[in-house]
Symmetry: C2
Subunit: 243 residues, 2 copies
DNA sequence: CGCGCCATTGACTCTGGTCAACGCTAGTGG
DNA sequence: CCACTAGCGTTGACCAGAGTCAATGGCGCG
């Protein structure tokens, strides 16, 4: 069980001068793409670029939602804790992902940075007010949550029906597809999260995850490299996911 | 594995005369509550009341979304199938629930009626067009999907972390709360779905579900009655869910 | 009445969990 | 520069919770 120290947060705001949506590498990946240039400028003024150190907390379950975030760089893990310390990682957030999508009053999950991260931060209030004047953005946001919901349902299939090997294979494949989608595709798939994070995401133990990677390596499906894996036989791995 | 016959669908439209939103028992439960009276009348004209026999299919994964549904009576099961026949039930839909929330092009899940059902059916096109002129409804819909997403994340915790007993206990409790929320609370919790449905929802087998109900009955947590269960010791069952 | 479906129960199996040891690597301090 | 340590990952031996297979029971329907 890996916990983040409260107070580990180091959040350093950069100057507004450096914040130009038009130059943002994540713009095409995010809900911002719904905005034409002129509206984007207004939108831009509502937000502020924030940086997070690796291992710092973005927010915690039940925190009031004062800010929402649009990730531009790095990776976050999203999770829920049980009172007895068990943890379910419900997802990993990449550039283009929006945290606080649901516009709820308090966060239903916790989030912290796995790597150094950059995000656009909006106060919920101003973001919400902006949405009232921009149905297109709301529509885009709605699409996003809808997509997140189908992803969550896919993960329910993984957790409810799949074997350890299928879970690990589908995890690696999905992550690989997501890297590709944000233009970071490569033969080697970086895994910035720990084995414990993967285990808690897949409903397995760290030992089972480790053994499964070893087995997949022995069967020449992939190689485990420092900080990630490299797929050797994509079709065979796809086969393994059973879907 | 319980499959629904294709063609089992019996969908009988009733007359528009009988369709009056103002009298709808599900109105306060559903997204419609976002609409003032005058807009509701326009909205009303877009929809049509449809009835479904028990065991009939509403739609199937990958079907194009021609219609969206607002459930007014009965219960549906929502599920995904794997190519090899394994099934994950991702939820049960009750009055007030909206099917097709995400406004996607094709359904990501299948749905069929567990009981005789009634729903308001909208063509996606006209519903979507109506949304464009009613940001308040869109906002409400967005809230809904957001809520569905948090429920899905809660279910990920159940599937990834909980023991068989905890899963069954949380299933019964959640269902009980939902009945209460729609004004159908009672000491006896109806379970219109089969043991197989419950098993596929909880990532267990039918035998484990059955044994767990028996165990919970032996330990005086509940009684299994025809068509449902009756909780004997609510606090103890809450305790069992570990949360 | 008898058939069929669903649920329950029992006996046994097996996948994945638990517990424990070990190794590797990075960071620290002498 | 190297010894020491701490944290993470891997591996092994064993265990247990849930799955599998099979038989039985109960209820509704023809």
């Amino acid at each position: 069980m890996l916990l983040v120290m409260p107070g580990a947060q180091r959040e350093c705001q950069s100057h507004h001068a450096t914040h130009v949506c038009a130059d943002c590498s994540a713009r095409s990946l995010s809900v911002c793409s719904a905005l034409p240039l002129d509206e984007m400028e207004e939108f831009e003024r509502l937000s502020r670029v924030v940086n997070f150190d690796a291992r710092s907390a973005l927010f915690t379950e039940r925190d009031p939602v004062d800010f929402v975030y649009n990730i531009t760089q790095g990776m976050a893990r999203l999770y829920k804790l049980l009172p007895d310390g068990r943890r379910q990682v419900v997802g990993f957030a990449l550039p283009g992902d929006f945290l606080g999508l649901a516009l709820e009053d308090s966060f239903s999950i916790s989030a912290d940075a796995l790597t150094p991260m950059t995000a656009c931060r909006f106060s919920r209030k101003s973001f919400s007010a902006f949405l009232d004047t921009n149905p297109r953005l709301l529509r885009k946001l709605h699409e996003r949550v809808g997509h997140e919901l189908t992803l969550a349902q896919d993960q329910m299939v993984v957790l409810g029906q799949r074997t350890a090997e299928e879970r690990v294979a589908s995890f690696v494949l999905n992550l690989s597809r997501r890297y590709e989608a944000i233009g970071q595709g490569s033969a080697t798939i970086p895994l910035p999260m720990s084995r414990q994070d993967i285990a808690d995401y897949l409903g397995l133990t760290i030992e089972t995850v480790s053994r499964t990677f070893t087995r997949l390596a022995k069967s020449k499906h992939l190689v485990v490299v420092p900080g990630g894996v490299r797929l050797l036989n994509l079709p065979a791995v796809q086969q393994l996911t059973g879907c």
